[in-house]
């Protein structure tokens, strides 16, 4: 265990330009500035919403109305089951499916994120000020919620971590100079998608959870002995059930909280 911590601290020091997060006072002043790059990315999402055309010749606005008229409040109820996808989808997957089916744009993998993230940012702002309202009506929603709850507490990987260890049991304490948030207790999902200052990027909650899994050091036992450099699962694939399940669990915990996006975080 100690070797693992030491190795990661060393790794952290070597890549210090990548891994830096603002202290509270710094973050406070950054918030006071009033306008952040997140706002530009939301603008870009707005641009795509009205102008991105694919093979079908339609834009998001063709179906959902000018200025997102028909999507006001939609984000407050996601993730949820969608008949046309046949799955419970978070905003990322919902937009991906829309882009591929109704707009006719290839939105797979990292390439797709170029459109999906700004669009998610924009669509989320259409629910600003509204309370989160997750209702588990469909059996799939109920199943995924239970799966999410199980995963939140399940200890996995080379470090025997679970989400709950850092974000519930140790929440409020600092790990390597950063304060651990409590997304379930504090209804933090209300501030996602959020702009991560230390990464200079707008992240959806899916990005965040996939990033978290880097710290877990999951490995595939079929690949033999665990090796930091070789056979460590860095990030789970996009749009998998487990990630959406965790999102559903965290978002339901935030029911009632007023949506305030894009958030501005360390």
């Amino acid at each position: 265990m100690k070797k693992v911590i030491f190795a990661s601290l060393l790794g952290g020091a070597l890549f210090m330009t990548k891994a830096e997060a603002p202290t509270p006072e710094q973050l406070q002043i950054l918030k006071e500035l009033g306008v952040s790059p997140a706002d530009v990315i939301v603008e870009e999402g707005r641009d795509y919403y009205h102008n991105l055309k694919g093979k079908t010749g339609k834009t998001c606005a063709s179906c959902h109305g000018q200025d997102g008229a028909n999507l006001v409040g939609a984000y407050a109820k996601m993730p949820r089951y969608y008949n046309d996808i046949g799955r419970v989808a978070d905003i990322d997957l919902r937009i991906k499916a829309c882009l591929e089916k109704y707009v006719g744009v290839d939105a797979k993998g990292k390439k797709g994120r170029k459109y999906i993230v700004p669009l998610a940012g924009y669509v989320a702002t259409l629910s600003n000020g509204m309370p989160i309202q997750i209702e588990l009506k469909h059996p799939e929603e109920k199943r995924l919620y239970e799966l999410g709850k199980e995963l939140w507490y399940k200890r996995v990987g080379a470090r025997d971590f679970s989400c709950a260890i850092c974000h519930e049991v140790l929440a409020g304490k600092r790990i390597r100079l950063q304060k651990l948030g409590a997304p379930v207790r504090d209804k933090l999902y209300a501030h996602w998608p959020a702009y991560r200052i230390s990464k200079d990027k707008l992240w959806t909650m899916e990005d965040r959870i996939r990033g978290c899994y880097k710290s877990f050091f999951l490995f595939d036992p079929q690949k033999g002995k665990f090796d930091f450099k070789k056979n460590w699962v860095k990030k789970p694939p996009f749009y998998i059930e487990e990630v959406i399940a965790l999102e559903l669990f965290m978002k339901k915990a935030a029911n009632g909280a007023k949506i305030e996006v894009p958030g501005l975080l360390r």
């Binding site: 202290t23 002043i29 790990i175």
Partner: protein, 150 residues
């Protein structure tokens, strides 16, 4: 390159060439301009010619964990008609010059805010160039630490 010996001979000659023939340019990896050099380059004067003044205020965090995004807000009570430009320097950066703002009376007030990069704990300096050729300065030391988790 027939043998390893040939390669080393070649490498040796090449290294000597670099030592002798290159102009006095600092290797980019360690390019470091001193504050004094940066001041001379942009203002034409050194630090000793610049007076400290409490007419200039700098708002910046005392401690910044993210050296990549340090917010600074500079304001001054000097009337805008008397001011030519504002300069921002960070002593310990590889290039201490960060930005300059040329004002006109249309600006109404001396004010500038931005986010800057800082490589290490250092003073952040705001220097006003007045139309009469004189300079005024204020500075604030910002401690830069490094966050860890990613």
């Amino acid at each position: 390159m027939k043998t390893r010996r040939d390669f080393f001979k070649l490498a040796g000659v090449a290294a000597a060439g670099i030592m002798l023939g290159v102009a006095p340019v600092i290797s980019p990896a360690h390019a470091k301009i001193s504050l004094e050099e940066a001041l001379k380059k942009h203002l034409g004067v050194g630090l000793s010619a610049i007076k400290e003044s409490n007419q200039i205020k700098i708002k910046a965090p005392s401690i910044a964990e993210s050296g990549a995004n340090v917010p600074i807000q500079v304001s001054a009570t000097v009337p805008i008609e008397k001011v030519e430009a504002l300069y921002i320097f960070v002593d310990k950066n590889p290039n201490p010059f960060i930005a300059s703002v040329m004002f006109s009376p249309v600006n109404g007030e001396v004010f500038f805010a931005t986010r800057i990069k800082m490589g290490a704990t250092s003073p952040v300096r705001a220097i006003l160039k007045l139309k009469d050729g004189s300079y005024l300065m204020a500075y604030k030391e910002v401690k830069v630490t490094v966050g860890g988790c990613g």
